[in-house]
């Protein structure tokens, strides 16, 4: 049977294809090509100058014995596992407060949103670097409230928190998405819950949370991708140190490619990063699917 295309009178079935043709070209050149090329380069020994030499899965085997690689995977996953839940909880909590129909909501929304607009700007990254120096603003505040100052840059236990706090500071964009989703929940649901004797906390768990499920999921996925790719902040603020405690996979890839000219190895690592990201997101999809079944 021939497929029928539902278009306005006088519109052929290829008009749409012509309109999206920039995307098709862009997808092939800027996503598909790099994706394949990255894999192929990962199978070679290549310094970006001489002819690449095919070495099969040698680069992948080398990763297992590369202590920097193992360390960076650990750092990246620990970092992501810390900051994603924190960011989601803070964003959701603030969005809930802002949705309480309070006066001056616009001002609060803007103040929370501005950091995420500027957040990735290098100027802010520089500012962040200053805030955490040994006698910087953060330590000065800690002393004022009676805590002892922390050696943020010297202690491998704390250094990753400089980056986590920076990304947490940028929670505004996630918050706005939650805020929009909250506004779409019909008020009648809460009224009905009230009549049935549900308290605020109970109606949050029975109404709000189930209805926000998809939005929460989307935010978790977006933040996880961003977290696993983290590069700018450790590159600028901590340079991966101390003792490689903030050396993310992104930094390793950059160093191998542009500092040591191991293009083959760098591409292989970036491919592993891609596969790891895909696996993590796939697991999330499976888990959230199960969660959905249980809730129904």
């Amino acid at each position: 049977m021939k497929k029928i295309y539902h278009n306005s009178v006088g519109v052929g079935k290829y008009t749409g294809l012509v309109l999206i043709s920039p995307f098709i070209v862009g997808f092939v050149v800027f996503i598909l090509y790099p994706f394949v090329c990255s894999f192929v380069t990962g199978l070679t020994n290549y310094d970006n100058i001489h002819q690449p030499e095919f070495i099969g899965f040698e680069n992948y085997r080398n990763m297992f014995s590369d202590s920097d690689f193992r360390k960076s995977v650990g750092v990246t996953f620990r970092y992501t596992a810390f900051f994603v839940p924190l960011k989601i909880i803070v964003s959701l909590f603030t969005a809930l407060l802002l949705s309480l129909e309070i006066k001056g909501m616009g001002i609060f929304r803007t103040s929370f949103y501005i950091p995420s607009v500027l957040g990735a700007n290098l100027a802010v990254v520089i500012m962040w670097q200053y805030l955490f120096t040994s006698d910087g603003l953060v330590n000065q505040f800690l002393e004022i409230i009676g805590l002892s100052p922390i050696s943020w840059y010297g202690n491998p236990e704390y250094s990753i928190f400089i980056i986590i706090l920076l990304r947490l500071w940028e929670f505004g964009s996630t918050m706005i998405i939650f805020l929009t989703a909250l506004r779409d929940i019909p008020k009648e649901y809460y009224d009905a819950a009230k009549v049935d004797g549900c308290g605020k906390v109970k109606s949050f768990f029975l109404i709000t949370l189930p209805l926000l499920k998809n939005v929460i999921f989307m935010n978790v996925v977006l933040q996880t991708i961003a977290g696993l790719q983290e590069f700018n902040a450790p590159y600028m603020i901590t340079e991966g140190g101390p003792l490689k405690s903030t050396y993310t996979v992104g930094m390793l890839v950059y160093d191998e490619m542009f500092r040591y000219y191991n293009a083959g190895y760098a591409n292989a690592v970036s491919w592993v990063l891609f596969v790891l990201t895909a696996v993590v997101i796939f697991i999330m999809f499976m888990l959230s699917g199960k969660l959905r079944e249980e809730m129904q």
């Binding site: 309109l19 309070i102 609060f108 501005i114 950091p115 500027l118 000065q140």
Partner: protein
């Protein structure tokens, strides 16, 4: 009365969020001793000479030069991104065509592709074509609707417009493009502005791409110039100057955000863009 704790939490959070920025502006007028001596953001005195020095930079070019470089990237990039995203979104939202579902899946999949995977092969490709150390690798990809987020957001907006608009315009004799420009585009202006503003802010913030594709100081964008100044200044030396440079570097983003804020936030709230 019940809401007082809520206000309290919100106000404290807002202060924590904004204080670092206030502090940054204050610190640009402070000596090193003052920066590390007090948490209060107000400097003892204002001496605007630090801004004159910061504007001159220690890289051999003024910040004005880097601003012009940055705009030489941002302006074509924004124009390209708006045109290509609108066309592609229009195609997805209003037309039925072969393999539509497949291409839409590609669009969504592309959004999840880590930049770190694609950036190295692109570096090698642009290198082979001889375009390294130029703005071509930074701007040309925008011609091809590469930012899936923008397309996705515009699709949501197009879908919010009644299809009768298109039908009516067709009956009046408008073709595919005239329908888009004269009938649909005026209706989705806030979304188009959001795309432009986001593109501006993201490009302003972009560090990885200029870092990889641009080598010569003469062509540095603002973020690269800032990094060079930090590196060459080092800790504990004339910190107010680097801080003043950072403040100057933030002005365009803050200005654009302030001007476009209202339309821009309505754009995000409808489109669900982060």
């Amino acid at each position: 009365m019940k809401k007082i704790p809520v206000y309290l939490i919100l106000t404290i959070t807002a202060l924590i969020m904004l204080y670092p920025l206030l502090w940054l502006i204050g610190a640009s007028f402070k000596s090193n001793g003052e920066i590390y001596g007090s948490v209060w953001f107000m400097p003892e005195n204002f001496d605007f000479e630090v801004y004159i020095n910061a504007w001159k930079t220690n890289t051999g070019y003024t910040m004005g030069h880097y601003f012009l470089n940055t705009f030489a990237v941002i302006i074509p990039k924004t124009v390209f991104a708006v045109i290509s995203s609108v066309l592609v979104a229009y195609g997805f939202a209003r037309f039925d065509f072969p393999l539509k579902k497949f291409f839409f899946a590609m669009l969504m999949g592309g959004m999840f592709m880590p930049a770190i995977v694609t950036v190295m092969p692109m570096y090698m490709l642009w290198g082979k074509l001889g375009f390294l150390d130029s703005y071509i690798p930074l701007t040309v990809p925008s011609l091809f609707a590469c930012e899936g987020m923008f397309v996705f957001m515009l699709i949501q907006f197009f879908k919010g417009l009644p299809k009768e608009l298109d039908e009516a315009s067709r009956i009046d004799g408008c073709g595919t493009f005239r329908t888009l420009f004269y009938v649909l585009l005026p209706c989705i202006k806030p979304a188009v502005i959001s795309v432009a503003v986001f593109n501006f802010l993201w490009t302003m913030n972009d560090f990885l791409n200029p870092l990889i594709f641009i080598n010569s100081t003469e062509k540095y964008t603002l973020s690269l110039a800032l990094r060079t100044s930090v590196d060459s200044t080092g800790q504990g030396y004339e910190e107010c100057k680097v801080i003043a440079m950072s403040v100057i570097g933030l002005i365009p983003s803050v200005a654009v955000f302030a001007v476009a804020q209202k339309k821009f936030i309505s754009g995000i709230t409808v489109g669900g863009l982060s």
